[in-house]
């Protein structure tokens, strides 16, 4: 890896040394600071996980009829949540793969965390395609295998593409994340006190000794994986976008969807990174590694992707208008002024108006300010998916079959439950693994002796 650019504001606060980095980061899992706070947070998250399990059990017992879905609105929260979580999962590979290839060194201090976040988000997302099935016990019919019926999946259906897109994405992200962890696991092994801990970390460190040969292999594989992962960043959400774009429904049938879904994904992904990293760095004193400059850079990404999303919205309205197609025109007017107008204007506010505040440098560098913005964007992106799914369906071609959709308590229980699941996994992650990549940070220590 090449050294950081001299003129740039340091990526690691001055005064930090390789040892101090190791010490500060590895002490979080090893010494378990702020146990009370951690336990409180984890307990809360765990309680919500129980809610999720109840909701899942009840769906299996009674069927998806416990949700608000109906004809015409046959998709509701499940698909909304699926798209939202998958979107959040995108920051991970984007930061690890694309920014790596682009030599954006600032990625180093957040890639570990975002990759973890990606995995957990994908875990949450992957639940929904299964749960929303009327007969989940037959989910495996979506997989190609030589069955006794002589049948195969129906390859024209984007849902089948989803199966492959999402599973590939999940696996690659996992490998990528684990590979990056190996050197750090070795550090943990060497710093851990009790033998069982050292053995445990040791097993996963795969006998890393930091030999030059190890490093050569590591660098090479990491680069190759980054290359492999890059197309996935684009492919996964493009395909999710096609779940809608392939349909003939006004509001779904739109060629802009794949790119605009990808942008939206990165948009929401970065928002979620900020939401997580800001409290984390405050709590565990990582301000030296995730500096205000990092925040500013993420804020900029947020702005750019936000603009792409805004363009997506605009182009939907524009094409509806220029096509002169009555159903499309009705759809956009119905979104803005129909029964669901409130959701539409919420998403415009959160995803288009709020991010404009980031033109203001002070805000870009203010942790608390960014935290608020990131939360709003998270909300906005969820609502966006809700609007796409529900308002397109509830009034389509024949007025006789127009209807309304309202989420039931089980819809909410499952959605909130996955939030709990997500945070519970994050808590466990910071408890047992180094939340930031020590190995990579050490490269940017600015005190005299430069690594490599």
């Amino acid at each position: 890896m090449n050294a950081p650019l001299a003129h740039a504001e340091p990526l690691v606060a001055p005064g930090e040394s390789a040892r101090s980095i190791d010490a500060r980061i590895s002490r979080v899992p090893l010494d378990f600071p702020h146990p009370v706070l951690w336990w409180l947070g984890f307990a809360a998250a765990f309680a919500v996980v129980m809610v999720m399990l109840t909701a899942i059990t009840w769906v299996f017992v009674r069927g998806v009829g416990i949700w608000g879905i109906n004809i015409p609105v046959a998709w509701g929260f499940a698909i909304t949540n699926f798209v939202w979580w998958i979107g959040i999962g995108h920051a991970g590979t984007f930061i690890s793969a694309i920014l790596l290839l682009l030599h954006q060194h600032w990625r180093t201090s957040i890639n570990r965390l975002t990759e973890a976040m990606t995995l957990f988000a994908v875990a949450c997302a992957a639940m929904f395609p299964l749960l929303h099935l009327g007969r989940p016990q037959y989910f495996y019919w979506l997989l190609p295998y030589p069955d006794t019926m002589g049948l195969w999946p129906q390859w024209r259906s984007p849902l089948v593409w989803d199966v492959f897109a999402v599973s590939t994405y999940g696996i690659v992200s996992l490998v990528f994340w684990y590979l990056g962890l190996v050197p750090d696991l070795a550090t943990m092994r060497d710093r851990a006190g009790p033998a069982w801990k050292r053995r445990l970390y040791g097993v996963f460190a795969l006998g890393w000794r930091g030999a030059a040969q190890h490093w050569r292999h590591y660098e090479r594989v990491y680069l190759i994986l980054a290359g492999l992962a890059t197309p996935l960043v684009v492919s996964v959400h493009s395909i999710v976008g096609m779940d809608f774009a392939v349909a003939i429904l006004p509001g779904w049938h739109s060629t802009i969807f794949p790119p605009y879904f990808v942008a939206g994904a990165i948009f929401s992904g970065f928002a979620m990174v900020l939401t997580i990293v800001i409290p984390l760095r405050a709590l565990y004193g990582f301000k030296g590694y995730v500096t205000d400059r990092h925040l500013e850079l993420m804020a900029k990404v947020l702005m750019v992707t936000g603009w792409i999303v805004a363009y997506g919205y605009f182009s939907e309205f524009f094409t509806a208008w220029i096509s002169g197609e009555e159903f499309d025109r009705f759809m956009v007017i119905n979104r803005a002024t129909g029964p669901y107008w409130a959701t539409f204007w919420t998403l415009i506010t959160c995803n288009v108006i709020v991010p404009q505040a980031l033109w203001w440098r002070r805000l870009r560098r203010s942790a608390s300010g960014l935290f608020v913005v990131s939360l709003l964007v998270n909300v906005g992106m969820w609502v966006e998916r809700y609007v796409i799914v529900v308002t397109s369906l509830h009034r389509d071609f024949l007025p006789s079959s127009w209807g309304m959709f309202n989420g039931t308590k089980w819809d909410w229980a499952l959605f909130i439950g996955t939030l709990g699941f997500f945070s519970a996994l994050l808590f466990l992650f910071v408890r047992v693994l180094p939340a930031l990549s020590m190995t990579e940070l050490k490269r940017f220590v600015v005190t005299g002796e430069e690594t490599e």
Binding site: T57, F60, V61, R62, G63, V64, G65, I66, G68, I69, N70, I71, P72, V73, A74, W75, H132, L133, G134, R135, P136, Q137, Y138, F139, Y140, W141, L142, D147, T148, L151, W152, P153, Q154, R156, S157, P158, L159, V160, V163, V246, A247, I248, L249, E326, F330, L393, D396, F397, L398, P399, S400, S401, W402, G403, M404
Partner: protein
């Protein structure tokens, strides 16, 4: 007699392995098992097909060979207001599973209505009375017979004095014979008749009409297309004048004057919404116009225009014109119409008279319920036998039947349910359903039919004739002998041969009554008298689905969207938009209807007693509370309620549904009241309708063609847009359907027929409210505000069987795919329930089992299930398949004979039921097929054609024939 249980070998009505699906109302243990099952399935063990260790049970002694055949049909007849409606009943290994029309029966002509379709479910109603009851305790027929022997001896000694028999008016010769036999045996006994529904005879005559010949029809409060014993025949005749053939239509013109939207009103070319009182004014004005006098000015501009046109038409087209007054009209109006018909020469051209077929005016009858109540109050009755009727619920409030009945010592009730009347009778006895009974009935025109059973009585019940026969002579004969005895001498020389012929055809030949000249007063009565009403009026109508309440426990009918509102599981107070605005009423607001205590019943100036069952406050007169429904086409000066709801002893389905309107009823004026006050109460009641948006939003959904120039006004017929792909070939058959919106009257018989044929579940009011009704074919109803278009447009929408089906390419597991004959197959057992197909269906005709909607395994309604159609489990998508099971059956028959399927061999359930033949189905590859000819009409169009789905189901435009373009706005007021 076939066994009353499904043949074990042909049992096919449970699709999925037990336990692999869940039951909404199961025990907790069951839920646990389901959970286990689900998770096991998730572990991949779901698709278990190791040979099941089932058993297979042959007969000891085989029944007739045909018993093992797949389906058998028997001709019989079902009672409709006492008149016969000829049906062919389908039996699968001894279970009646469906009723279909009998083509040779005059009041069926091969078609059915929704009630007939639902009648088969009534046979399996779990709440049917299953045993005789003494004081509520299960007793036995034997015990009743013993007791009756004593009573009978006693009655004989006093020639039957003190015995009152209360029946519904009937057309059954055998039942009448038994009643007369009773009266012969016990001359002093008295026989009363009661029905809450219409009476069709007046001074010994019944009106009959020939709508095939009428060029101009004026209907005054007459729903002859829907609510009449001959409605199927009338609808067929009427539609024959609406059908575009060879690009032309010899259209009739229908003028309707009515207070509340009805099926007939929805077909009007010009419709005037008017309360009965105002209708008299309109008729009076019309009379003036016809007589060349200057009409009274006090009419709206629109009304004057329409009346002028009507007068012109009546005079211009005479004698092929007819004025029809509904049974709810008072005598003056009916006389007026009769006189006008006579004047216009319609008599014997389009208007005929038939002898009274039903027993209402039978000389030996002692009168109606009023007479019965008087007799009871007078104390002259010590034994009351109620047969079939349910007066405790259906009696007009002012009679206070219950109080009178309490004075009778011995009260006996024969009925299909332990209903409100049974609750007041120490003795209740179960009455047989017509599918398990030997009986006979007459059609409106007198044609008799033998009612033959398809199944042994499920619960040891008896028919009215058997019962009355026993009352007369405790020897007791069975129905079979009684019926044969009745017809013994009609058959001519070879009775047995005739008997078999009658059973096969479903009609007894040579029994049709001859039509004669209708009687008419020399001069039309002056309707100005009594027309001077002010304030809001109330009209009371039988409910379009549950009628007077006798169908209240029929879940199919409760869930069938009402023909006039799309409401389900409720009745409502119909108010006009204008009235609603003035009273600030919205749909679902509970309103209180009260009739002033001294409120004159319309016309006849007599005042009525203030006491009333429903009354909350003695000096205020009767009041009733019910949710309001704002109905387009409702008269502004009139609110309308329907009977049949708010029952307390209908059964688990019908109890506590809707509100009871009987308290507003007066024996003197059963159908209308004056001086009604409507008060909005604070409360709301959730009314559920299957359609919430009635405007077409300017979209090309229902096309309207002017009868004067169908080709010119219907818009362009569908053409096949260019495609990048080579056209798909359908070498064998190409199934297609055509729905003629010109003929469709929106009666929804097709919806009920489809439900019966395809094992479509009932989901209940709550689920329908969530948008989860399961009907495979729906009849959309649009309210058009375009000038020149009828205000109400009906459009039946089944699956369009698109050639480019959007649903097919999004299904991940190929559960919905195209067949080689162009059907859009739906494979329930492959469906995993992503519901993507429904999202992508522009017609939204797909239905999803959001919960387990199947009836519990031990419910008798499962015996109705069609074994040829899979019963869908939870989480599975379903939809119309053009009755593919029938196509397959037809193909197998044809293939075995090594021939092609002929046009008409395969008829879908909806097509079969349709009274107006609006639905045509057939092979588009067969140039001789009727469907091909119909699709060649210039009014042909495809729904949402621009989406290039290439639907196989297409439409003919609605035809309308207004006299004044732009003036046919029924809801103009």
């Amino acid at each position: 007699m076939p066994p009353p249980f499904p043949h074990p070998l042909l049992r096919r009505d449970d699709e999925f392995a037990p336990g692999s699906e869940s039951w909404p109302e199961g025990m907790s243990r069951r839920r646990f098992l389901e959970l286990m099952a689900a998770s096991l399935a998730l572990a991949g063990l779901g698709a278990c097909n190791r040979p099941p260790d089932g058993t297979i049970v042959p007969y000891v002694v085989p029944p007739d060979r045909e018993m093992l055949e797949d389906a058998l049909y028997y001709a019989t007849a079902m009672p409709w207001d006492g008149y016969a409606r000829g049906v062919l009943a389908r039996s699968h290994s001894g279970r009646p599973t469906k009723l279909e029309g009998n083509a040779v029966h005059p009041d069926s002509l091969g078609a059915t209505d929704a009630l007939t379709q639902a009648a088969v479910l009534a046979l399996y109603d779990p709440d049917r009375s299953r045993a005789p009851r003494r004081g509520g305790q299960v007793a036995s027929w034997a015990r009743f017979e013993d007791e009756w022997l004593g009573v009978h001896r006693d009655l004989l000694s006093r020639h039957g004095r003190g015995l009152a028999l209360l029946t519904e008016p009937t057309t059954s010769p055998t039942e009448l014979r038994c009643i007369h036999a009773l009266l012969d045996r016990l001359p002093a006994a008295r026989w009363f008749q009661h029905t809450a529904l219409a009476r069709f005879d007046r001074d010994g005559r019944q009106d009959d009409y020939d709508f095939g010949r009428a060029d101009v029809v004026l209907a005054v409060e007459a729903d002859f297309l829907f609510d009449h014993p001959s409605s199927l025949r009338y609808a067929r005749a009427f539609a024959s004048r609406r059908r575009v053939e060879g690009g032309r239509v010899n259209a009739n013109r229908l003028y309707v004057i009515e207070a509340s939207p009805s099926v007939t009103g929805s077909m009007a070319d010009h419709r005037l919404a008017a309360s009965p009182a105002h209708a008299r004014r309109l008729l009076a004005a019309l009379g003036d116009l016809l007589d060349g006098n200057k009409p009274s000015p006090a009419l709206a501009h629109e009304e004057r225009r329409v009346l002028a046109a009507l007068a012109r038409d009546l005079q211009g087209k005479a004698p092929n014109v007819v004025c029809v007054a509904g049974e709810s009209c008072d005598d003056a109006v009916r006389d007026w119409c009769a006189a006008r018909n006579a004047r216009l020469g319609a008599a014997c051209v389009t208007h005929h008279a038939l002898p009274a077929i039903r027993s209402d005016a039978d000389p030996r009858s002692a009168g109606d319920l009023g007479a019965a109540v008087q007799a009871m109050q007078a104390g002259g009755i010590d034994t009351l036998v109620v047969v079939g009727a349910n007066p405790a619920y259906t009696a007009p409030a002012d009679l206070e039947f219950a109080r009178a009945m309490a004075r009778v010592a011995r009260r006996i009730h024969l009925g299909s349910h332990v209903d409100e009347t049974a609750a007041l009778c120490p003795w209740h006895l179960p009455e047989a359903h017509f599918l398990e009974a030997w009986s006979d009935l007459r059609a409106y025109d007198g044609t008799a039919s033998i009612v033959q059973p398809l199944i042994a009585p499920l619960y040891g019940s008896r028919t009215a004739a058997e019962f009355i026969g026993f009352l007369a002579a405790p020897a007791g004969r069975n129905g079979y002998d009684l019926v044969r005895e009745t017809w013994q001498h009609h058959g001519g020389a070879d009775f047995e041969a005739a008997w078999v012929r009658w059973l096969n055809t479903g009609v007894v030949d040579g029994t049709t009554a001859s039509r004669s000249k209708p009687t008419a007063p020399a001069k039309a009565p002056d309707l100005r008298a009594g027309a001077s009403s002010s304030g809001v009026m109330l009209t009371i109508r039988p409910d379009p689905t549950v009628r007077d309440g006798r169908w209240a426990n029929n879940a199919w009918l409760q869930e069938l969207p009402k023909q006039n509102s799309q409401l389900v599981w409720d009745n409502a107070v119909f108010v006009s938009p204008t009235l609603a605005a003035t009273l600030q009423i919205e749909n679902g607001d509970v309103v209180q209807l009260s009739v002033a205590a001294n409120g004159r019943s319309p016309i006849s100036g007599r005042t009525e007693p203030a006491r009333s069952a429903g009354s909350t406050n003695p000096n205020e007169g009767p009041t009733v509370e019910g949710p309001a429904w704002i109905a387009l086409g409702q008269a502004d000066d009139c609110v309308t309620v329907s009977l049949g709801y708010g029952r307390t002893a209908a059964g688990r389905v019908g109890n506590a549904v809707g509100f009871d309107a009987y308290p507003l009823r007066q024996s003197a004026s059963p159908w209308a009241r004056e001086g009604v006050t409507v008060r909005k109460l604070g409360r709301r009641h959730a009314l559920v309708s299957t359609q919430t948006h009635f405007a077409m939003e300017g979209r090309d959904i229902v096309r309207v063609a002017l009868a004067s120039d169908p080709a010119g006004t219907a818009g362009r017929p569908p053409e096949t847009p260019p495609s990048l792909y080579p056209p798909v070939e359908y070498p064998e058959y190409r199934w297609g359907m055509l729905i003629d919106l010109g003929a469709c009257i929106g009666c929804k018989a097709c919806v009920a027929a489809c439900q019966a044929e395809n094992n479509i579940p009932v989901v209940g009011k709550e689920q329908v409210g969530l948008g989860r009704e399961m009907h495979w074919i729906r009849v959309d109803r649009y309210h058009s505000t375009k000038p020149g278009e009828p205000p109400v447009l009906h459009q039946p929408v089944p699956c369009m069987q698109c050639e480019n089906a959007p649903c097919e390419l999004v299904c991940p597991v190929a559960a919905t795919v195209h067949s080689s004959e162009g059907l859009n197959d739906m494979v329930y057992n492959r469906c995993v329930g992503t519901r993507y197909c429904s999202n992508n269906c522009p017609y939204k005709v797909r239905r999803f089992n959001f919960l387990d909607f199947r009836a519990p395994a031990d419910s008798p309604v499962n015996l109705q299930k069609n074994p040829e159609v899979t019963v869908r489990a939870r989480g599975v998508m379903e939809k119309c398949t053009y009755c593919v099971q029938r196509i397959n059956a037809g193909r197998i028959t044809a293939e075995k004979a090594n021939r092609r399927i002929r046009d008409g061999d395969v008829r879908t359930a909806c097509q079969q039921a349709c009274p107006t033949e609006a639905i045509v189905f057939g092979d588009l590859n067969d140039p001789a097929a009727r469907v091909v000819a119909r699709k060649a009409e210039p009014t042909h169009y495809a729904l949402l054609e621009e989406l290039n789905t290439r639907p196989r189901t297409t439409y003919l435009a609605r035809t309308t024939n207004p006299a004044l373009a732009g003036a046919n706005r029924g809801d103009a007021a």
